[in-house]
């Protein structure tokens, strides 16, 4: 009985000591955080005029100079944060000027030293900042760090830093391959990371698409959401019968999206694909197509076993003009309570159950399309001009 109590007493002493230690650390941490914040505010105020100078003169031809009084190491940290903020927000010549300013102020060198630190969190911080400064010189060290970190949230941070700083497509490729080697199927995130790069990685994507490796294909497919690759329609169609379902779905999604140049025959073939999702996508896409066999194909698809396929087929039939509507009415009348009839009736209800302003919608549509086209044309012209220069 006494020994039991003794254990309890030792336990109490141990826990009390831990509590005391914990409280000490807590308050020290709090105090230091408050001081850091105050310091940052002071530094910001002190260099306010210099920042105004920078922002006001981003456009001119002149070089940007560091502050007349060189900042201390602590101040540099705060200044760098603010510069990184602006480098991220801007593009083009203005961004380039800020980047060369960072180089001149020695920030790149300092971070290059830090990335060799034995502590991982320091290396991570250095990689992040080097990425923010688009520092090409740091890419080899960042690639090494990518190898060293555990696959997870941290690897994406380093990968993004590499994407921002890479000056050669080879570096970008190495980063992509390392990311793919880590386990998770985070292709969308990887594609987003690739987008940070200013390099033209379309050849790399084309190569990935043509390969037989699932990971590479999925990465290419994800990246193709934002940028089309020339002449990929055939390969995409091939991929719709790939062994892995995710590849089939993604390839089909790209083929069936508005603006894709897939032939109607292929779409009709996809309407009888083995995956329900692909059939539904094809059914939806056929609503935008006006070819001879479309109505017939859609009519058959009305009897599909998946609800989404039936529904989208019905919707697409409704967009096929009189022939389509007739087919719908027929299906609705003849099918009794079967699934095809249900879908047909639902769509007919949507179409005619209500909106007299359907005509107005079309008006507004053409107006907005005009404005959209005007802006797009302007943008294209600017890019042409930029490319000429």
């Amino acid at each position: 009985m006494y020994s039991n109590l003794q254990i309890a007493h030792y336990y109490i002493v141990a826990v009390t000591a831990l509590i005391a230690a914990g409280l000490a650390v807590l308050f020290t941490l709090k105090y230091s955080n408050i001081r850091k914040r105050k310091l940052a505010e002071q530094v910001s105020a002190k260099y306010e005029d210099w920042f105004t100078y920078l922002l006001a003169n981003l456009d001119g031809d002149g070089k940007l100079h560091p502050p007349p009084e060189p900042p201390s190491a602590a101040e540099s940290g705060v200044l760098l944060d603010r510069l990184l903020f602006w480098i991220d927000r801007l593009k083009g010549k203005q961004q380039a000027k800020l980047i060369s300013l960072c180089e001149e102020m020695g920030f790149v060198d300092r971070q290059l030293a830090r990335i060799e630190s034995p502590f991982e969190w320091v290396r991570l911080d250095a990689a992040y900042r080097l990425g923010g400064m688009r520092a090409h010189r740091g890419v080899p060290a960042m690639l090494k760090l990518l190898e060293a970190v555990k696959p997870g949230p941290l690897s994406f941070i380093v990968a993004r830093a590499i994407a921002k700083s890479a000056a050669r497509p080879g570096e970008l490729r190495e980063m992509a391959l390392k990311l793919l080697a880590g386990k998770p199927d985070s292709y969308e995130l990887a594609a987003d990371i690739l987008q940070e790069s200013e390099l033209d990685y379309a050849p790399m994507l084309a190569e990935f698409l043509a390969s037989e490796d699932e990971g590479k294909i999925l990465l290419a497919l994800a990246a193709m959401k934002q940028r089309t690759i020339e002449g990929s329609a055939d390969r995409l169609y091939e991929l719709t019968v790939f062994k892995r379902k995710e590849v089939r779905l993604q390839a089909a999604k790209l083929l069936t999206q508005p603006g894709s140049d897939v032939s109607p025959e292929r779409l009709e073939a996809l309407l009888f694909h083995r995956d329900g999702e692909v059939r539904a996508m094809a059914a939806e896409a056929l609503g935008r197509v006006d070819a001879s066999g479309t109505v017939a194909a859609l009519r058959v698809a009305l009897n599909d076993e998946e609800w989404h396929v039936r529904y989208h087929s019905a919707k697409s039939l409704a967009r096929q003009g009189e022939a389509g509507l007739a087919a719908l009415r027929l299906a609705a009348a003849e099918g009794e309570d079967g699934p095809a009839a249900e879908a047909a009736r639902a769509v007919l209800r949507e179409r005619f159950g209500g909106d007299p302003s359907a005509g107005e919608e079309a008006e507004k549509g053409s107006e907005s399309a005009k404005r959209f086209a005007a802006s797009a044309a302007f943008f294209e012209r600017k890019t042409e001009l930029a490319n000429e220069n």
Binding site: N4, H9, I19, W121, D192, R351, G353, G354
Partner: protein, 481 residues
């Protein structure tokens, strides 16, 4: 007899120490897990990611019952999240007040006729869907009363996107909460079936235009206790559990799910509280049974602010409801208890929950009574009672300090030194009655369960005008600008 009582009392003391050991392990795991979570969050550029086409579209589901006072503010706030493609689906669960009309008037909604709903999950039929193209992301669904779970299921049936997010009608999401959750999803999309967000207490904070402008501690005592409770539970507990993939609950106030898996497990369980824990248990069960790699993740930097009950009546009603739900969930899923087929979930999570959460009141109470009885019989051994109390107190306090330290390391939401002092003080005060009340409420919840009592209890909605006393409110309630 005396020996028996002492023996039993000592056993309970060991029980308490064992619970503490598990708590400490959890806290340790939280500290480990937090490193990569936080670095991942700190170094992400959410502003840019929120506009990226690679972030997945999300459907926010907001079940609403008798929320006419606050629904407009909340919906407006939900419509201004920093995310490129998402929809807000408000489900009016047959409210007896003017919730639906208030929404229709404020947003000028009209019935949407070109929408056909496919009932992937059984739910009460949707009577009508209201929409206005000027607010292209807002849908209001009207249906007959069926409960929160039923409303969520109806919302799932309507939703157009592959990810769904269940939100309480009085949750105030931070602007970047959604993109932070989405980042966690994007890092492992194939395996992530659910992600829990961090729920924080908004009482006492300065709120303007649906944004928390200044974070402060509550002035009233009940919300203050709850603030500390939530910090311990979310920061100390959930991070740790998610690190070993043993998370048993994702808060109903803010949780993201993959729609396809939710549909596969049959949607939310209707008719009884605790559906938020229940859906997670179902998901674990499904994925483990089908041997699919998965994770239920936790995103501590995605914050949802909620109003904590500030009166005894409402708070006790809420806790009794939780107790009821917890017991029902554990009973329904007792086959998972120590079942090795269910890995971490079966061997650690469920037993922990049963022994140390559900049955906690019984152990502690009986232990205390036993020791009191023992001492009553032989007053010379009163120090043992003191020891028992001391162990209880010190355990809990160490965990509280650990959570506060975690908060300071990783989140720093309470910037003032006096906030920390106040929290440190209240963490101690909680042992002078609040925890005991918690035990009582849980017991009452169990009794209600056994009596087949199934009401939702007392709830009153307050406007979001929670400001420090003396300052005029700048929140507009309802109406158009």
């Amino acid at each position: 007899m005396r020996e028996l009582l002492l023996g039993y009392g000592t056993v309970i003391m060991y029980y308490v120490m064992a619970v503490s050991l598990i708590y400490f392990t959890l806290m340790f795991l939280s500290y480990r897990g937090i490193y990569s979570m936080i670095k991942g969050a700190v170094y992400s550029r959410f502003q840019s990611l929120s506009g990226s086409a690679h972030a997945p579209p999300v459907s926010l589901l907001v079940p609403a019952y008798n929320e006419e006072l606050t629904i407009i503010e909340n919906v407006k706030s939900l419509l201004t999240l920093n995310y490129h493609t998402y929809e807000v689906i408000v489900i009016n669960d047959g409210s007896k007040d003017n919730t639906l009309q208030v929404l229709i008037d404020a947003f000028e909604l009209k019935p949407k006729t070109d929408e056909t709903v496919h009932y992937a999950i059984d739910s009460t039929k949707i009577k009508a869907v209201y929409y206005n193209p000027a607010h292209p992301n807002l849908y209001v669904v009207d249906k007959n009363n069926g409960g929160k779970a039923d409303s969520l299921n109806a919302g799932i049936n309507l939703s157009h996107y592959p990810l769904i997010c269940s939100i309480d009608a009085d949750s105030l999401l931070e602007k970047d909460a959604l993109i932070r959750m989405a980042r966690v999803y994007m890092e492992n999309p194939a395996e992530t079936v659910a992600i829990g967000g961090n729920v924080r207490i908004a009482n006492g904070c300065v709120i303007r235009d649906g944004d928390v402008k200044d974070v402060r501690l509550p002035r009233k005592i009940w919300p203050m206790f709850q603030t500390l409770e939530y910090l311990k539970a979310f920061l100390g507990g959930r991070i740790g559990w998610s690190h070993i993939n043993g998370l048993i609950i994702v808060s109903g106030a803010f949780g993201m799910f993959r729609k396809d898996y939710v549909v596969k497990v049959g949607g939310y369980r209707e008719g009884y509280p605790g559906e938020d824990m229940n859906i997670i248990i179902k998901l674990h069960r499904y994925m483990l049974k089908n041997k699919l790699p998965y994770r239920v993740a936790y995103c501590p930097d995605a914050v949802c602010w909620t109003q904590a009950p500030d009166t005894y009546r409402i708070l006790s009603s809420q806790r009794k409801r939780w107790g009821r739900g917890n017991l029902k969930n554990m009973l329904e899923n007792r086959d998972l208890f120590l079942n090795p087929k269910y890995k971490v979930f079966g061997l650690l999570t469920v037993p922990y929950n049963v022994l140390f959460e559900t049955l906690n009141p019984y152990f502690k109470l009986t232990g205390l009574l036993a020791l009191i009885g023992y001492v009553a019989m032989d007053m010379t051994h009163w120090p043992i009672l003191l020891t028992f109390a001391a162990i209880n107190f010190l355990n809990g306090y160490l965990l509280a300090v650990g959570s506060l330290l975690l908060e300071e390391l990783a989140f720093r939401r309470y910037p003032r030194m006096r906030d920390t002092l106040k929290m440190v003080g209240f963490a101690a005060l909680m042992f002078l009655g609040y925890y005991q009340l918690g035990v009582l409420w849980r017991l009452q919840g169990h009794i209600e369960f056994l009596r087949k009592n199934n009401s939702w209890g007392v709830m009153t909605r307050q406007s979001w005008n929670q400001e420090p006393i003396g300052k005029p409110s700048t929140v507009t309630t309802g109406g158009e600008a």
